[in-house]
């Protein structure tokens, strides 16, 4: 009796890598191309069952944040006029996190193909790099200087401006 044409899911269940389940409204889930693709596939097959999408690379902490972002952006999906408000929200959203969280969030945005969140993260990272010294960047991002002595010497040269 299954009829493929009328099939439409309103919600999906997303499972984080640490096995927590999140019930997500379709409009919100569609902010992620990965989730949207899963939903579209299932709808094509004509299933009416609630589908479960496991995300093996995303912990529940990070998934909560991605979904918070998707929810906000789904609210504004049909509304261009509120762009300014959304921009402000985006800005405040990222400011809350430490750099370890920002890293996981960036990776999750990439994995879940949430392009606007990925762009936002990359812009934020680029901006924070612009106003810092090499040492400060290594410190903030917790990155070890792992250059070979030869590379180290090259870098020292590249970063020295001689005046005459």
């Amino acid at each position: 009796m299954a009829s493929s044409s009328s099939s439409s899911l309103s919600r999906v269940v997303v499972k984080s890598s640490d096995n927590n389940l999140f019930v997500v409204n379709k409009k919100v889930a569609s902010q992620s191309q990965l989730l949207k693709q899963c939903i579209d596939n299932m709808e094509e097959k004509g299933t009416n069952d609630v589908i479960l999408i496991p995300l093996s690379n995303v912990t529940s902490n990070i998934l909560t944040l991605v979904l918070e972002y998707c929810e906000k952006h789904a609210d504004f999906a049909d509304d261009d006029n509120n762009n300014q408000e959304l921009k402000q929200w985006d800005h405040e959203f990222l400011k809350k996190f430490d750099y370890a969280t920002l890293n996981s969030l960036t990776m999750a945005a990439d994995y879940m193909v949430t392009k606007s969140l990925l762009n936002l993260c990359c812009q934020f990272i680029a901006d924070s790099i612009k106003d810092l010294t090499v040492q400060q960047i290594r410190q903030i991002f917790d990155i070890k200087n792992d250059f070979t002595p030869q590379e180290e010497a090259d870098i020292k040269n590249e970063n020295a401006w001689a005046f005459r």
């Binding site: 750099y99 370890a100 969280t101 890293n103 996981s104 960036t106 990776m107 990439d110 990925l118 762009n119 990359c122 812009q123 990272i125 680029a126 901006d127 790099i129 612009k130 106003d131 810092l132 010294t133 090499v134 040492q135 400060q136 960047i137 290594r138 991002f141 917790d142 990155i143 070890k144 200087n145 792992d146 250059f147 070979t148 590379e151 870098i155 020292k156 040269n157 590249e158 970063n159 020295a160 401006w161 001689a162 005046f163 005459r164």
Partner: protein, 382 residues
């Protein structure tokens, strides 16, 4: 778990799309080996760049804000200690120093000036850059000039990696457009009312303004179309286009006499003339719909730098100034009370002035010269 040094190359590529300045790329490549390997060396054009068969070379100079780096606690003090310079790379890693608001080179450098500045130990941010053209020596010998004014040049990258366009002003007052694909200069002088005064590349398009503020969009297609975007404002003596906060702005520079307001009576003329002084500014924002320049009385947190060779904007936050709303400009040395800096000829010729929009007052600035103590006193030798 999260390790920034293991960022996948594709994500590094994404981040790099937001880093436009070569100085940011250099810094990015200096962090760790993964970041270095995933970051291509500065591609694009190396300057100076010779235009084939024209006997002209294209030069680039960049303007930087330098600040000392210690801890974030004294950030405020550090930023107010900023120094703004303009440099041109003569050979890899060898630079000439210029006064940021003119074409004057600062040479010879003072004895206490470090021969090497180590970018590792300072914060450096690109504020803007400018291009200019120079004839090569053979052209002088041949007398084969193209009749370009060449004082101001706008540069645009084309669709394909190596393609670019140049826009400058022809000696007729019209515009001269170059593209490196057909390697031709096209002079656009149709509908020319008054000579053009300034050109800019803004949001991937060329704009030009004439002496009274009439502003056009210059197409880079084969038709070389010129379309009006704003009618004239008349007013002052020099028009400068500048990008501020993502908007195209017009700065009208008055030399000698202040703006003549409409509510002046002719009886006020004596008073008006006696109020004359070196320099005065008006700033306008582009109203595209109305095709007009709309005067802006308050620049908010913005600071404008209006030089003879280029104009650019910055935020007061970057300098930890408690307010913006001002314009930096090259102050003619004849107005400078040189007794203040007796013996410092460089300062006398390269000092900057600040025009405060709030009350139209003018003060002197040491943002460009002398170099702050943290530059001259530090031993930055390699």
């Amino acid at each position: 778990m999260a390790d920034w040094s293991e960022l996948p190359a594709e994500l590094i590529g994404e981040i790099l799309t937001y880093l436009n300045s070569p100085i940011d790329i250099l810094r990015f490549r200096s962090i760790c080996s993964t970041w270095r390997q995933s970051t291509p060396l500065n591609g694009g054009h190396q300057f100076p760049f010779s235009l084939p068969f024209h006997g002209i070379s294209l030069f680039k100079r960049s303007i930087f804000q330098l600040s000392p780096s210690k801890t974030s606690i004294v950030e405020f003090l550090e930023k107010t200690n900023s120094w703004v310079i303009k440099v041109e790379e003569k050979n890899p890693n060898f630079f000439n120093l210029f006064f940021p608001l003119s074409w004057n080179q600062i040479a010879p450098l003072p004895i206490n000036f470090p021969t090497v500045i180590d970018l590792f130990n300072i914060r450096i941010r690109e504020m803007g850059h400018e291009f200019f053209l120079r004839y090569t020596d053979e052209v002088y010998c041949r007398g084969d000039f193209l009749n370009l004014l060449m004082e101001k040049v706008a540069f645009l990258s084309g669709q394909n990696g190596d393609d670019f366009f140049l826009l400058t002003i022809h000696i007729s007052g019209g515009l001269a457009l170059y593209n490196n694909v057909d390697n031709q200069w096209h002079v656009i002088s149709d509908d020319l009312d008054l000579p053009y005064d300034d050109v800019i590349a803004f949001n991937g398009e060329f704009y030009a303004v004439d002496y009274v503020g009439k502003t056009v969009l210059v197409g880079t297609d084969t038709a070389n179309s010129v379309n009006l975007v704003a009618n004239s404002v008349c007013g002052g003596d020099q028009k400068r286009l500048v990008e501020m906060g993502g908007e195209l702005m017009l700065v009208d520079v008055y030399m000698g006499l202040p703006p003549w307001d409409d509510d002046h009576n002719i009886e006020d003329l004596d008073e008006y003339v006696s109020s004359s002084r070196s320099v005065w500014f008006k700033v306008y924002r582009l109203d595209r719909e109305g095709k007009t320049w709309v005067e802006v009385k308050d620049l908010g947190n913005n600071i404008l730098f209006v030089g003879m060779t280029s104009a650019f904007a910055a935020s007061a936050v970057d300098f930890a100034f408690h307010k913006g709303n001002c314009i930096y400009f090259p102050f003619p040395d004849k107005f400078h009370p040189s007794c203040l800096y007796e013996g410092d000829d460089i300062f006398r010729f390269h000092c900057g002035g600040v025009f405060h929009m709030e009350d139209s007052s003018i003060s002197y600035s040491e943002l460009f010269w002398p170099p702050p103590p943290w530059i001259t006193s530090s031993s930055l030798e390699v």
